[in-house]
């Protein structure tokens, strides 16, 4: 609930202030180059800031007829304003505090900065503009606070803010990752911006204090006591009359100094509000500090990115809003979705379409909108889990609502949880929902919910198949709805190798994309043969030259495998790449154990030819030596460039008639050692092989006192992509 509030405010605030913030950010970005530019042209002379003010006055010599004042700006450069009959000493200019001579004219601010400052402060609208900008900076402050609230919720507590961000999609990942660093400078920009506006409209008074008379605190020469680096300005006496004093402005106060005795005659301290205003100004503008100005410029850039990525995230959320053909009261099938960012909703939509195709009355809605449905026979809940086992945005009220809503009619239910094993509380919320629903006696549902890792399409299709069979339906899930399918791209076959034995024929295709694209070994290539509606997914290996390798087994009646098989070298066909992050090469693993059988070697062919730090061990199982011929070239290339440390092959029809898991058992000491050292195990191939491998691994783990397979899977040390 609280999170919804955070998100809602974050969204509303961002939208309502976006135009002003965009202008302020762009102009702020330009203005940040002011102090950086000033640093390049600075007239501060190294080491000259330590001289006393008396020395400075002495250094001025007799060339000036009259000195009005000396100012020192934030960067440490000294300006003088003086009259002199000698033009070299007349007027306002930058002063060398050691020689007392002019070093440069004071340049007018570059018109770009003047123009931009005006835009930044008031949008060229004078006072109303300043009010808008003031409000926008207050809204920015609220955006930062709501963003921080969301960040804490998302990461599962304040202390975990800097722990790993789980990558769901690119915009979201960088919105969060960048956000947690940029939040500090942006918070400072927002607070100081608000403060300066409040000062500006005199809501905070920054009047200098009253002069304290008489009680002379400092006798003797004040000018000997303070140094140039303490100085902000020194106003010279108007006349030589003793009652005309010097006014010496320091960081936190002003002194009136007697021009003949050097006594401090009067002083006034700056009120706290004024000190804060001066600090705010320096922090907000980066004046005098080029590296802080650079941080401010960086913050502006990141704000531009937040606007961009935030807009994309919001569009995705809004797009996933539900459209229904039937009302809740006529629906026989009710699908309720719990989704943080709308990605789980694709699955709900696909299911809804498939059921409507079967002439069923379906109603799709958010979990939070649960009510009593008059005609309900089936309730299907599809839900993700947010952060540390909490409900996603549109599901936070479901359990409470479910308990409160009277149910008049028995119905069947099933819960499908979506999550990522890289979260410690995998699918926790789906399990909570399952428990809540099973509390009601009128609802019958399976003993456990179905849990799906990393939006695995295959697993969802498996569930849908078995569920629809149980309903006596034959559902055809429109797969295009299930994954934000990659862009269609043209692939040319640049190499093909095939091998055949009495039972099977397999071949590899090396595919060259027309345009270079972002694809990693382990991603899926979606191929839909002409005249067919259903896509097939192939796990790809990516070679260093950007080409993709797929390994295909030809089935006698396989439409797609035969389609691919009849394509000849140089021929081009259309496919799409689907991101499959959980089966990418891990970034931080100490070593990699790749386990596969048959064509499951596909992604590994790319991985072993990638020069990354983890040592790589490959275990592969096939039928005969002939089956391995296809892959020999890739293996020997990898061994030559030392990106594959070790390979073992099990042949099921020849020599020792072994399966790949048998090799693991033989190598159990080594495998145990690798697991202990936090290696990542990646499994690709048939489900039967996966089952066998996991059994062996379970034995190895228990023999060597290692964590259980479930724990290893949960922590991402075991990853699999099987079919």
């Amino acid at each position: 609930m609280l999170k919804n509030l955070w998100r809602y405010s974050h969204f509303i605030l961002a939208v309502s202030s976006s135009l002003f913030l965009l202008l302020a950010t762009l102009s702020g970005l330009i203005l940040a180059f002011g102090p950086i530019n000033a640093e390049i042209n600075t007239y501060q002379l190294a080491g000259s800031q330590d001289i006393t003010i008396q020395t400075l006055i002495n250094n001025l010599g007799n060339d000036y007829d009259e000195i009005l004042e000396i100012n020192r700006d934030a960067s440490g450069a000294v300006q003088i304003s003086a009259f002199s009959s000698n033009p070299a000493f007349d007027g306002d200019f930058y002063l060398d505090p050691v020689t007392g001579k002019k070093i440069a004219e004071i340049q007018d601010k570059h018109p770009v900065f003047t123009f931009t400052t005006n835009l930044h402060r008031s949008l060229f609208l004078k006072t109303p503009g300043r009010i808008f900008v003031g409000i926008a900076s207050f809204l920015l402050l609220l955006i930062v606070i709501s963003g921080l609230g969301l960040l804490i919720k998302r990461q599962g507590g304040f202390s975990r803010v800097f722990s790993r961000v789980i990558k769901e999609n690119r915009e979201q990942y960088y919105h969060v990752t960048l956000g947690r660093w940029a939040i500090v400078p942006i918070l400072i920009i927002a607070i100081t911006g608000c403060y300066l506006s409040l000062v500006r409209f005199e809501i905070i008074a920054t009047t200098k204090g009253e002069w304290e008379n008489g009680q002379t605190t400092e006798h003797g020469d004040a000018f000997e006591r303070y140094q140039l680096k303490d100085l902000r300005s020194l106003e010279f006496p108007f006349t030589k009359e003793p009652e005309d004093y010097y006014t010496l402005s320091l960081k936190d106060r002003e002194l009136k100094v007697h021009q003949y005795t050097g006594d401090v005659v009067q002083q006034r301290r700056y009120p706290f509000s004024l000190m804060v205003a001066m600090l705010s100004f320096d922090l907000h503008t980066g004046a005098g500090n080029w590296w802080w100005a650079a941080v401010l410029a960086g913050s502006c850039l990141s704000m531009l990115y937040f606007m961009y990525s935030g807009a994309l995230i919001s569009i995705a959320r809004l797009k996933s809003k539900t459209k229904n053909k039937f009302s809740p009261q006529e629906a026989e099938y009710v699908i309720l979705v719990g989704s943080e960012n709308g990605s789980t909703k694709h699955f709900g939509h696909a299911l809804q379409h498939a059921l409507i195709d079967q002439k069923k009355k379906v109603y799709l809605d958010d979990l939070n909108n649960f009510q009593s449905y008059k005609q309900i026979n089936h309730l299907i809940v599809l839900t993700s889990t947010y952060g540390d086992g909490e409900a996603p945005a549109n599901a936070s009220k479901f359990i409470e609502t479910f308990h409160r809503t009277p149910i008049h009619r028995p119905f069947q239910s099933t819960v499908v949880g979506f999550g990522s094993r890289s979260y410690s509380k995998f699918c926790q919320y789906a399990m909570d929902v399952h428990d809540a629903i099973s509390d009601n006696n009128l609802v019958s549902l399976p003993s456990t919910p179905t849990l799906i890792n990393d939006k695995n399409l295959g697993a969802f299709q498996d569930w849908a198949r078995s569920w629809s069979v149980a309903q006596g339906l034959s559902l055809n899930l429109p797969t295009d709805k299930l994954q934000s399918s990659g862009k269609a791209l043209k692939l040319t076959i640049v190499a093909k190798k095939s091998t055949q034995n009495e039972e099977e024929e397999t071949f590899t295709l090396e595919l060259s994309p027309k345009k270079r694209l972002r694809v990693h070994s382990g991603d899926l290539l979606s191929i839909t043969p002409p005249g067919d509606a259903v896509e097939r997914l192939y796990s790809v290996g990516v070679l260093p030259n950007g080409n993709m390798i797929i390994s295909v087994k030809r089935h006698n009646h396989g439409i797609c495998s035969n389609y691919l098989n009849q394509l000849v070298l140089g021929e081009t066909f259309t496919a799409a790449v689907k991101n499959n992050t959980h089966f990418h090469l891990p970034n931080k693993a100490t070593a990699l154990v790749m386990i596969g059988n048959g064509t499951g070697i596909g992604p590994f062919l790319g991985m072993i030819n990638t020069k990354t730090t983890p040592k790589k061990h490959l275990y592969w199982g096939g039928r005969t030596t002939q089956s391995f011929v296809l892959y020999e070239d890739f293996i020997s290339r990898a061994q030559k460039q030392q990106s594959l440390q070790n390979i073992r092959i099990a042949l099921s029809q020849e020599s020792k008639k072994q399966y790949v898991q048998d090799l693991l058992l033989e190598d159990q000491e080594k495998v145990a050692r690798l697991i202990k050292k936090n290696s990542t195990l990646m499994i690709c191939g048939s489900l039967a092989m996966k089952k066998g491998v996991l059994e062996v691994l379970a034995t190895i783990c228990s023999n060597h006192g290692l964590p259980s397979i479930q724990e290893l899977e949960q922590d991402g040390f075991i990853r699999s992509d099987c079919y």
Binding site: E66, L68, E69, S81, F83, K126, T127, R200, F201, E202, A205, T206, T207, K208, E210, E235, F238, T239
Partner: protein, 161 residues
């Protein structure tokens, strides 16, 4: 005869006026000290008025952003029409509450002792316009000294330079 008379008269007028403008000017060092008001920097204009309190010349403008000049309406209606050249030479930076500004005023001697005035008018964004913050007669006997202001200006001091 009449013609000659007229020419002579014109000639004399020219000579006199030429001489008169050659009478020269006097420089005064001027300091404006503002009160400790809070808010933006004040726009300040120093001008010479004739006996009828009509603007004759603008001597000094503190504030270089012409965007705000219309906030000094009385002066602005004169200044806009006058199209005085070389405004940059008499323009300086604004000063805020508690601050002072010192500059040299070049006052034409013609203006002295014949009913002219020196006006200091002020305006602060979002606050008031003060037409006569300081108004003093241009008399050579009393031009040096300290003059209290009525609003944003605490005092003005003038001494011959």
């Amino acid at each position: 005869m009449n013609k000659i008379h007229l020419i002579t008269w014109i000639a004399i007028t020219f000579i006199v006026s030429a001489f008169k403008s050659d009478v020269g000017s006097s420089q005064y060092k001027c300091m404006i000290q503002l009160t400790n008001y809070s808010g933006e920097g004040a726009y300040i204009v120093v001008s010479v008025l004739n006996a009828n309190k009509e603007y004759v010349e603008t001597l000094r403008v503190l504030g270089d952003d012409e965007e705000w000049y219309p906030d000094l309406p009385t002066w602005w209606s004169f200044f806009e029409k006058a199209g005085q050249e070389n405004v940059d030479a008499i323009t300086g930076a604004t000063i805020a509450g508690g601050e002072r500004s010192i500059f040299i005023l070049d006052i034409d001697d013609r203006y002295l002792d014949n009913g002219h005035f020196l006006r200091f008018e002020t305006s602060v964004e979002h606050q008031n316009y003060v037409e006569n913050d300081v108004l003093l007669p241009l008399k050579s006997s009393s031009i040096s000294g300290k003059f209290e202001g009525s609003d944003y200006i605490r005092y003005v001091r003038l001494i011959p330079n």
